[in-house]
């Protein structure tokens, strides 16, 4: 492999992959370097999965601009990349007469930000569209352009599309040093040095560390942990919109929303922590999530929890997205402080950064570029004749492996074989939902391990949960050893 590229992107989360896809429109060589075994392993995998309307961010900020533009781009992008997305609208609920002004302020902010279609609803109007809303509701800000998305597919699809247009990916590779040398950048990963004309720092919670390797103007990111609870699909329809409390300076508060797959999700908390790599769920966090959830909705069956998880937001001290060429570092571009609404903003960040970089490097658009990328075929979503045809041709699409989510062997094989395919149980899970249901992989994980072992041609005891040393089994039993 030639180690020289036009552009190196550090980080294969939604930001890095969105930039990669946009850059793949241009005639240039791009390498994405990721420290984990797969795309979507950091902040991008553990968040609310919300596409925000854009009334939260302070007018004039990059957060506001990127949110609005991202929201605008999202429906088209989801069409092109086959990403589950439902524009169900959001409600910011006021439950205390004394705070009514806050809703007016938010509305005004949304108007300045040019959020389309917002309305302030009366208590009665809220109850009419959201029957399980708290009886304390005073009014709510309704924004029809908010929605829910599959964050995994968003990230994976952006990467797959970039890859099909020539972007290379290097996983399990950690950047240890970056140097400017003779007009190019040398990116050191310990066992190799890669050369690039431009570097894009999309390293999530580690983006300050990467930035500080090259710039004297230091940045500082605080990992802000958020705990969530995911509830069973049997509660589908309990809430119909993304329901937020009124925001505070720590964020948008604990929301309750259906996911795009029909689960209900509640969370997140917001706790500043030290570690950028470990986000443990805490008992206090789960209590806070539960308390927060029941403030805005009544009768939510929190006992239907199927899993709890927590994620980290990359909160930069300035509280703003930093999307620019770093001071005094020509060709080194930062995407730093990409916390909420980062998921919403990623298509816009991709567009914006690609324009900065392409201008800097005087890149030309390719003649041919394929922006379309289909998801794993899901037999359960096909019309019955098409499903029949598929199973006749590929019988593995008739063999259910994950009972809870009705995921077939065909889907798992596809997830493994496709470009940038799954290499671990979590990789399969994020691409197919096998193991994401109510038994949480209790039944299917041994079978998914079998399929991974067969498809990848590796021993079953080398299969991992999520790469590295996360091996599922430790060796053979006595009889088999």
């Amino acid at each position: 492999m030639d180690n020289s590229f036009d552009v190196i992107i550090i980080g294969a989360g939604v930001t890095g992959c969105a930039v990669a896809r946009e850059l793949s429109r241009f005639d240039c060589s791009v390498l994405v370097i990721e420290k984990d075994e797969d795309v979507c392993c950091g902040t991008s995998k553990a968040n609310s999965g919300i596409v925000h309307a854009g009334y939260d961010a302070k007018p004039g900020t990059l957060k506001a601009k990127m949110n609005i533009r991202g929201n605008e781009l999202m429906p088209g992008l989801c069409q092109e990349l086959d990403i589950p997305f439902k524009q169900i609208g959001s409600l910011v609920v006021c439950t205390d007469e004394a705070n009514r002004e806050g809703i007016d302020d938010l509305y005004a902010r949304g108007i300045t930000n040019e959020v389309p279609g917002m309305k302030i609803l009366s208590a009665g109007e809220v109850k009419a569209i959201e029957p399980n809303i708290s009886d304390d509701v005073v009014c709510a800000l309704f924004a029809p352009t908010a929605g829910v998305i599959c964050p995994f597919r968003l990230n994976i699809a952006l990467a797959e599309c970039a890859a099909q247009n020539g972007v290379e990916f290097k996983f399990d590779t950690k950047v240890t040093g970056i140097r400017s040398s003779g007009g190019v950048w040398e990116v050191d990963t310990g066992d190799a040095v890669y050369i690039a004309r431009a570097v894009i720092n999309a390293a999530g919670c580690h983006a300050d560390d990467i930035h500080n390797l090259v710039s004297d103007k230091k940045l500082h990111i605080t990992p802000r942990r958020g705990d969530y609870m995911l509830l069973d699909r049997s509660l589908d329809g309990f809430v119909k919109h993304v329901i937020f409390p009124q925001p505070t300076k720590m964020g948008k508060g604990i929301l309750v929303t259906p996911t795009v797959h029909g689960n209900t999700i509640v969370g997140p908390t917001a706790v500043d922590i030290e570690s950028k790599d470990e986000a443990p769920v805490t008992a206090e966090g789960l209590v806070k999530v539960q308390e927060g959830a029941v403030k805005n909705v009544k009768g939510l069956q929190l006992k239907q929890v199927i899993t709890g998880f927590s994620g980290l937001r990359a909160h930069e001290d300035g509280g703003e997205f930093i999307l620019e060429e770093a001071d005094g570092c020509p060709g080194f571009f930062d995407c730093v402080g990409i916390e909420s609404p980062g998921l919403t903003a990623c298509p816009a960040i991709g567009e914006y950064m690609a324009s900065l970089v392409s201008e800097k490097l005087a890149l030309k658009q390719k003649d041919t570029w394929n922006g379309i990328c289909k998801d794993v075929v899901k037999p359960v979503e096909l019309p019955s004749e098409e499903r029949e045809k598929l199973i006749k041709e590929y019988p593995e699409y008739g063999r259910i492996i994950c009972r809870c989510e009705t995921i077939t062997e065909g889907e798992i094989i596809d997830a493994i074989r496709r470009p940038l395919g799954a290499k671990s149980l979590d990789g399969v899970k994020r691409r197919t939902r096998a193991g994401m249901g109510r038994c949480q992989g209790g039944f299917c994980s041994p079978r998914v391990m079998d399929i991974l072992s067969r498809e990848l041609g590796v021993a079953l005891d080398s299969i991992t949960k999520s790469g590295g040393n996360s091996k599922i089994v430790t060796g053979r039993t006595k009889d088999e050893g």
Binding site: E278, T282, G441, V473
Partner: protein, 417 residues
């Protein structure tokens, strides 16, 4: 496709129901739909012995017990389809999918639900901590060890004292792993006494009652868990934390009947069992839809599953022939003091076979207590029991003639004297 009776699930319940139905009426066309690659269900991974004491008067392993039933299928003309997942159940049509037939429907006269249960996963237990590899439900670990031939880990802590957890404590020990402790949130064990003796005591594995796991550590693979004592409200007691180095945490914290199909079919569910409400014939709230085994309520002993499923199978066979129940008195069975639930919930006297077996579980531990059966308030049975615990299912058996007076209500209760 057509069948007189479709049996959803080919584990112990489905096998016994199918066989009993075929024996009731040899002309019936019976079809078992099994989602796994072999019949026998979870019995296949239960390679320990202790099965069949009631049914065959001998101790068999799980696969041997299943084989006793499987070998009868051909002779009775019972058909089965493997690797076949049922997608939808209605009273006279079942929709399923497999790799050979694609999505197909079976028109049928009766359905017997035998889907078994699943284990409560980590996520449903709200255990704090990181999410590394090395956290398994006990049944998943059992499958890995006994079917796949792989070890889930070397140093093990088990949370929950359900039977599968106890069995796996012994199994992992025999395979050379070190089981450091079994923690149980409740002040009593969730499993059978005999399993505590044979699987823990015999191997010097400590059972820590009123303990739980409050943290899981390790980024990629489990490196330790933190356990703590809990108070009577199940809240961890500060100062009692203890970190145990281990690479594996097994969970045996309860089984949940798999009633997603039943629910979408509209079957009425008993919140105490998470299984269908059934009558003496194991018929659910939908006529012609029957349920038995662990999908109905979680059992300790497979022998009872077989016995109960036999009744369900015979009832289904009779339903296909008669297509309606005889009119007659209905007796409601009520939970009295200390009784969490009963199966069945009510009895139609004219449909009852020779006797009525009422199975139930207590909500707490009772020592030197009595099980009482009252007919319309009048004590009919007053039986002393040395110990009654939630981990062991209780039963009372009433002869049909004892019920001839047709009480309107049978109450089961536990009292101290």
């Amino acid at each position: 496709m057509k069948a007189d009776i479709v049996i959803v699930g080919g584990g112990p319940a489905g096998l016994a129901a199918a066989i009993a139905a075929a024996k009731e009426d040899s002309n019936l066309n019976i079809l078992i739909l099994e989602r796994d690659r072999e019949l026998g269900g979870i019995l296949n991974q239960c390679i320990h012995n202790g099965f069949g004491l009631h049914t065959f008067n001998e101790e068999l392993t799980g696969p041997e017990y299943a084989a006793r039933f499987e070998e009868q299928l051909d002779g009775l003309g019972i058909r089965y389809m493997l690797d076949t997942m049922v997608l939808d159940v209605a009273s006279s049509v079942v929709t399923a999918v497999n790799s050979k037939e694609g999505v197909f429907t079976v028109d049928c006269g009766a359905v017997v639900l035998c889907m078994g249960c699943r284990e409560r996963p980590r996520g449903a237990l709200n255990i704090p901590g990181l999410r590394p590899a090395g956290v398994f439900t006990a049944g998943t670990a059992q499958r890995l060890v006994n079917i796949e031939g792989f070890m889930p880990g070397k140093e093990v802590v088990i949370l929950g004292s359900g039977d599968i957890g106890l069995i796996m404590a012994r199994r992992m020990t025999l395979e050379g792993a070190k089981v450091k402790a079994v923690c149980e949130l409740m002040p009593y064990s969730g499993g059978l006494k005999r399993n505590i003796v044979q699987c823990l005591d015999d191997f010097d594995i400590p059972l820590l009652l009123s303990h739980t796991v409050i943290d899981i550590k390790g980024k990629e693979r489990v490196t330790s868990v933190v356990i703590a004592e809990v108070d009577e409200k199940s809240k961890p007691v500060p100062g009692t934390e203890q970190e145990i180095a281990c690479d594996t945490l097994l969970l045996s914290c309860g089984l949940i009947p798999e009633n997603e199909l039943s629910r979408s079919a509209g079957v009425k569910i008993n919140p105490a069992t998470n299984g269908p409400v059934v009558n003496e014939s194991f018929e659910t709230s939908i006529p012609g839809v029957f349920a038995c085994g662990n999908v109905l309520h979680v059992h300790d002993l497979v022998d009872y599953v077989s016995e109960e499923s036999g009744r369900a199978g015979r009832s289904a066979a009779r339903f296909v022939k008669a297509n309606k129940a005889e009119e007659g008195p209905v007796i409601n069975i009520k939970n009295g003091n200390g009784v969490r639930y009963t199966v069945p919930s009510f009895v139609r006297l004219n449909e009852l076979e020779d006797d009525l077996v009422i199975r139930f579980r207590s909500g707490n531990v009772y020592k030197d207590s009595y099980i009482n059966v009252l007919f319309d308030g009048e004590t009919k049975l007053h039986r002393r029991k040395q110990i009654i615990t939630p981990g062991e299912m209780e039963q009372v058996i009433l002869k049909k003639e004892e019920l001839s007076g047709a009480p309107s209500e049978i109450l089961i209760e536990i009292t101290e004297n």
